[in-house]
Symmetry: C2
Subunit: 423 residues, 2 copies
Amino acid sequence: MSKIATAEILCVGTELLLGDIVNTNAAFLSQRLADLGISVYRHTAVGDNPERLKAALAAALSSADLVITSGGLGPTYDDLTKETVAAYFERPMELDRHSLERIKTYFAKTGRAMTKNNEKQAMMPVGAHIFDNNYGTAPALAIRDDVKNKTVVMLPGPPGELIPLFNEMVAPYLQSQSDSVLVSKNIHIFGMGESAVEDKIKNIMTDSLNPTVAPYCKEGEVRLRVTAKSHSHGQAERMCDEMISRIEDTEVGDFVYGVDVGSLENALVALLKQKNLTLATAESLTGGLISEAITSVSGSSAVFRGGCVTYTNEIKSKLLGVSAQTLDAHGAVSAEVAMEMARGARLKLDTDIAVSATGLAGPDGDGTDTPVGTVFIGVSTKNGENYIKLSLSAMRSREYIRLVSAKNALNLAIKAAQKMTKN
Amino acid sequence: MSKIATAEILCVGTELLLGDIVNTNAAFLSQRLADLGISVYRHTAVGDNPERLKAALAAALSSADLVITSGGLGPTYDDLTKETVAAYFERPMELDRHSLERIKTYFAKTGRAMTKNNEKQAMMPVGAHIFDNNYGTAPALAIRDDVKNKTVVMLPGPPGELIPLFNEMVAPYLQSQSDSVLVSKNIHIFGMGESAVEDKIKNIMTDSLNPTVAPYCKEGEVRLRVTAKSHSHGQAERMCDEMISRIEDTEVGDFVYGVDVGSLENALVALLKQKNLTLATAESLTGGLISEAITSVSGSSAVFRGGCVTYTNEIKSKLLGVSAQTLDAHGAVSAEVAMEMARGARLKLDTDIAVSATGLAGPDGDGTDTPVGTVFIGVSTKNGENYIKLSLSAMRSREYIRLVSAKNALNLAIKAAQKMTKN
């Protein structure tokens, strides 16, 4: 079988063209295809319109080896992706009894009534490869034409179905059509900008074709995706791990907070659990962003006890015991107040670690000389207190300043936890 | 001049095809074009590749009256949108001195060094209509071919530039090419589902062609966009207002929290400011989402004093004074605890209103019979206390349960504030 080298993504749904939903599927699929070594040349979104869908499909298949569609697999008359693709490949539709049984079982389990329409979701083009959908009613499917070397994979539109279906079934299916195995691992970096990271590992990045190292940058974070290709999964894993060690041995290593850890909050909660440490937060400008990030992690209640959002000086004193003298002498946006906030939260909530954030998110200043974007992040543990000062550009949005402040607080908590012994 | 009736959106940037960024521009532009009465038929995203960009542009212009591009206006050699569009319309490029001066001033103001490359951003196709960019270095532009009735509007890729440029300059430009005026207003509804809303105002929606009423649904909220077309702005405004009154007179009216207010948190902060009322929060399952939403609003410090995130029973007692007896008798997920949390926050932070949330966000339960998705939202004011109970499906994600809980808390705070007199 010929290799799949190029792909296009074709998203179907009038709600996309109305701007009612953002097309996150195209970004997700692009990332995952890049991981599989497949180059994406174009994204297209069309409405639930058979003529335009047909034209878009033909255009995509005229150049790409693989087309992945999302949407248009639902039960109603205007869901036409399967039928359009079947017509393109001249395949008749037939009832797939296995899919029909699964759809019936799904409805029985969720206690909803199945309509006649839903049977349409079990109609499949002859010769299709079917991916059972454990997350909804519409099975996903693939049609492959070996003569033309064209493959179309059809996925349901809701990301809650598309993402797990792709990861669990479509990615292995695409890999099985290749005689090599690809393994990707992500190095998570915080506190060093993208251009600095690239500068420090320039030689490694340009020298290495396998594994490849690709940087991704988002809201103050850098992620390096290391992808190795080999004949065996074990060998590809080892090649990734060796590359990760090489990168960690550079100056970049000091800024790595984990490999395949998902996010700062995930890494922090995992580390606290592993060391049996507890955490509290004290927030001013971030207004709850830090605690919200931590509690977004399932199981965070094992390590997170709580926090205080103290938006006025009076409340900083009342809830956290920040002294009026410190507030008077240094102002609310100061290293001293950040550290007193963290100390107050640690003592009041009786935790091993507390982090704090105080600063000016803007757009307006606080009437002093302190520029918008000035932020102090504090941390307190039984080993002592510490702070960092951020000077973010006042031209950044309030949203960005708050988010980057919260990320710095999470990172400072990780660093503090790393230095502590297990409880 | 012929009317612009149809549009395609063409986004340029390899980062889109790598999945490194999500294409939010396509959704934004689609919504705004719908407001202007222009139908969007297709979204396309291509990389920084001149041949594929050229093909995509030709395909888009073969059917649509208007093509809006985003991206590819930067200073580097692979930013080629302007050049490709100019070649399509057979227009030579020339230096626009006005744009060059503005770019120079922009660099001087931000204290950065201007490179020779940036001059490229002032090169414009002959006859282009230029939109000054107050948010970045790349001016936006439009090219119009009156004979073919084709217009291409080119916008820079960063949403922080594209969004204000479209709203402030491109929308009026497109409107000026039409002899009628469109005005849209958004009715924000919370607490009634999309199908219930549609059911209550079915007659109004189907009877009315001008203004039109279109529903949009997102995370527990429904928005109705009312769009009126007329010869004068004032008349279109009046038509919108009349329709809004008609809708508010139905049962839907009880669930309307504002018109063109942006979001629950925006409506809440505006209302509190108007009535000179202060607010505090007490959060368990939402972990800071409520306070984070409130403090995301600029100027919220005038009304928001702070909050407590109390993730354990002990901390609920310690910070908010929730009694151990109540916790024992009713459990942490109960109406009684929700109200004691709100009362505690109001008294401790000395505010006019406090809202609270306690519940099970899952995926795991708390060892009792209480199902995941059970949430109590409390509110306390000097006039008394109140609560609502939510029974969200345990099949919903942790993220969804937390978000909908936070939105319900904001809505309950709005209702409480509406009943209070001005301070």
